[in-house]
């Protein structure tokens, strides 16, 4: 098992390198540059020139890529004017071109925890509702319960967040006034640690921001965006679980279990569920990775300052380091999620375990 994990980690190195390389190349291929506009006005050419020099944008591309990866000290020896970078390998994702004075590390450390909180709760909600609903629908196959559940699931999958979000806001925030209209209200659980960093004028580390204080305020703000995001997730999990369980129930070994005289409940719980969750686990990995790293639409609708917004706006702004940084976060999340999926897989399915 350990060997399996180590092998997987080693494999991720070339994957992440390629992701970085292609993102770097592609983002430079977008027409226009990062300093074309400041707000609505265009900048004077001399200012643009100075800025481009400051961020070494006039150096050969290979040199820029090299510095991005392993830092200015190695790739730009002697030319350490402007903004120096230590390189991605040492965890320095560089400065943002747009948000002057902020580094990409700062932006991620502030925005990723918010997206992760939202995404985690949404996936949990999706699993808590979707998997049991799928199981019940499968067990009540072709009954009104199944039809109702399937109908709701299809509705949930097809209704867009763009529609559901504003709709929920309209009813539950504006009409009924049960929940706040927008924004996120997470305070770090370890507020004393956070304050120490703030007092020292430093960026609060990501893990401190990640764990929220479970206040009423926090949950009230979370309900609508989590439900918006979780609806589609639970709907697709319900459909997948139902289909998978229905298939497993037709397997020969289920007939064997019944022929032994087992109760229907034992047949389902011991013989069918584990098998039927194997495909569900497969989808959970990418689902987690996609949602934890930010969802543009929901964050936009609810004015949540998560990573999803940065991911999209940075492309429009040609804020190269932010594009690269957020893409890398996403890639790392996918890699980790898939690794966890493989481990769960091995635990569920002995045929995988021994390879």
């Amino acid at each position: 098992m350990l060997q399996f994990v180590i092998r997987r980690i080693i494999w991720t190195i070339p994957v992440l390198f390629l992701v970085t390389f292609f993102t770097f190349a592609l983002v430079r291929a977008i027409p226009g540059g990062p300093f074309d506009f400041a707000g609505d006005k265009s900048l004077p050419p001399t200012v643009v020139k100075n800025l481009e020099a400051k961020y070494h944008l006039n150096d050969p591309l290979w040199q820029q890529f090299c510095s991005y990866l392993i830092g200015d000290a190695v790739c730009r020896p002697g030319k350490q004017n402007g903004v120096a970078s230590k390189g991605v390998l040492l965890g320095d994702l560089g400065p943002s071109f747009r948000y002057r004075g902020r580094t990409v590390n700062d932006i991620i450390a502030t925005a990723l925890p918010i997206s992760a909180q939202l995404g985690f709760m949404a996936v949990m909600l999706g699993m808590l509702i979707g998997i049991p609903a799928g199981i019940i629908a499968a067990l009540k196959h072709n009954t009104p319960i199944d039809y109702t559940a399937t109908f709701i699931a299809v509705l949930g999958v097809s209704i867009s967040n763009v529609v559901l979000g504003p709709f929920l806001i309209w009813i539950f925030a504006l009409k009924l006034g049960w929940f706040p209209v927008a924004t996120w209200a997470a305070e770090p659980l370890f507020s004393n640690i956070a304050e120490k960093y703030i007092a020292a004028g430093e960026q609060v580390p990501m893990w401190v921001n990640l764990i929220p204080k479970p206040t009423k305020e926090f949950f009230m703000h979370a309900v609508l965006p989590v439900v918006t995001l979780g609806t589609a997730l639970s709907a697709s999990l319900a459909r997948l679980t139902r289909g998978s369980l229905l298939q497993v129930i037709r397997e020969d070994y289920i007939r064997t279990a019944r022929a032994k005289g087992l109760r229907e409940r034992a047949v389902i719980v011991t013989h069918a569920l584990k098998n039927s969750l194997i495909p569900v686990v497969t989808i959970l990995g990418p689902m987690f990775a996609g949602v934890l790293t930010g969802t543009f639409v929901v964050e936009q609708i609810f004015a949540i300052p998560g990573l999803g917004r940065h991911f999209v706006t940075s492309v429009g702004n040609r804020d190269y380091p932010v594009v690269l940084g957020t893409t890398l976060v996403y890639a790392v999340a996918i890699v980790i999620a898939n690794m966890l999926v493989d481990i769960t897989y091995a635990w569920l399915d002995p045929r995988v375990r021994l390879e």
């Binding site: 072709n142 397997e251 070994y253 064997t256 019944r258 005289g261 087992l262 002995p350 045929r351």
Partner: protein, 336 residues
């Protein structure tokens, strides 16, 4: 002596979108204590559905047992409650299936699956069940039984898995073992081993066996009595040697001609039965074998022949069986 199992007019249908599939159409037979009977017939003739109906194991819906009685230990298995039938399954009547590769649960250990019926029906605790499971694996000839309990099915070969299935079936010393084509999916040499294993286990345990196969070759050394099924009906019943030496139903004759026999000279070629079995949704009015039968007459196409007791050990469902028998005798046997 009353029969151990008595099946009367069992009728099972599947209600599908295309129409009603007449899978089993009023079959009646009995099984005596300690006896082995074989059910033979082409694919789709209702052998599996017929025996699965005995334990109410057909998928419902779309399947439904629309008529019939199955008497076992003074009770009609078709009428008792779901709880009661579960007490019968695996304990008094056990079943093993055709494909050992798919009949064991891939994510549970062999030991777990083997111990399940022991804990369920015999009230054993984990330790007792484990001990007994090892004995059972030894009994079916699995080497290193104690160490193999924690293995998973994919670590076993097909033949070994079928041995595990047999061990599982016999775990509670059932009075009846139903074996639904247990050797079809296996290599020829493994097939013979499994047949020998079941024979020797039968001598030890003494259960009655219903052995399903579409291979008449296997039947000879194993069963005492044979039921021949066609299109969901029993068309002939006879003792094994009678069936081979003097078949009465044209379908049985066709079946005998289409299987290889060891005592058959090389010069004799196998003759498959021409044509196809009838559509079970659009079930024919007359004899279901009529379109493929060389003896058919007008009557055959109009009326379905009932199964008739023609001697203490024989039944046949054919209007013209006497003609058929006379014809075969005159020709000098089935293979002439």
């Amino acid at each position: 002596m009353a029969a151990l199992l008595e099946v009367k007019g069992l009728t099972t249908q599947f209600f599908t979108q295309d129409g009603v599939v007449h899978a089993v159409n009023g079959i009646s037979y009995h099984l005596n204590e300690g006896e082995t009977i074989a059910i033979v017939g082409e694919s789709g003739s209702g052998k599996s559905v017929g025996v699965m109906s005995l334990l109410r194991l057909i998928p419902q819906p779309p399947g439904k047992i629309v008529a019939g009685e199955v008497w076992f230990q003074g009770r009609d298995l078709m009428q008792i409650s779901d709880d009661e039938i579960r007490q019968i399954r695996g304990k008094h009547i056990a079943m093993i299936f055709q494909d050992p590769m798919t009949s064991l649960n891939p994510v549970l250990t062999i030991g777990f699956q083997l111990m399940e019926p022991l804990q369920l029906h015999l009230g054993m605790d984990k330790n007792q069940a484990r001990k007994r499971a090892i004995e059972l694996l030894e009994m079916v000839g699995i080497p290193g039984a104690a160490t193999r309990l924690d293995a998973y099915p994919h670590q076993f070969s097909g033949g070994m898995r079928q041995r595990v299935m047999i061990a599982m079936g016999l775990a509670c010393n059932p009075q009846v073992l139903i074996a639904d084509e247990p050797t079809t999916a296996l290599d020829v040499t493994i097939q013979a081993q499994i047949v020998e294993l079941v024979k020797s286990l039968k001598e030890q345990i003494g259960m009655a066996i219903i052995w399903i196969t579409h291979d008449l070759g296997v039947v000879a050394g194993l069963a005492e009595r044979v039921l021949v099924m066609y299109a969901g009906q029993i068309v002939e019943e006879a003792e094994v040697h009678e069936l081979y030496s003097d078949p009465h139903h044209p379908y049985t004759i066709g079946l005998l001609r289409s299987v290889p026999r060891l005592d058959m000279g090389k010069s004799k070629r196998l003759i498959p039965i021409e044509g196809l079995p009838p559509d079970l949704i659009d079930y024919p009015k007359g004899c279901p074998f009529a379109p493929r039968c060389e003896y058919r007459t007008e009557k055959c196409e109009q009326e379905d022949p009932p199964i008739e007791q023609i001697s203490p050990t024989r039944r046949v469902a054919c209007w013209h069986w006497e003609t058929v028998v006379a014809d075969i005798r005159e020709k000098g046997g089935v293979y002439a």
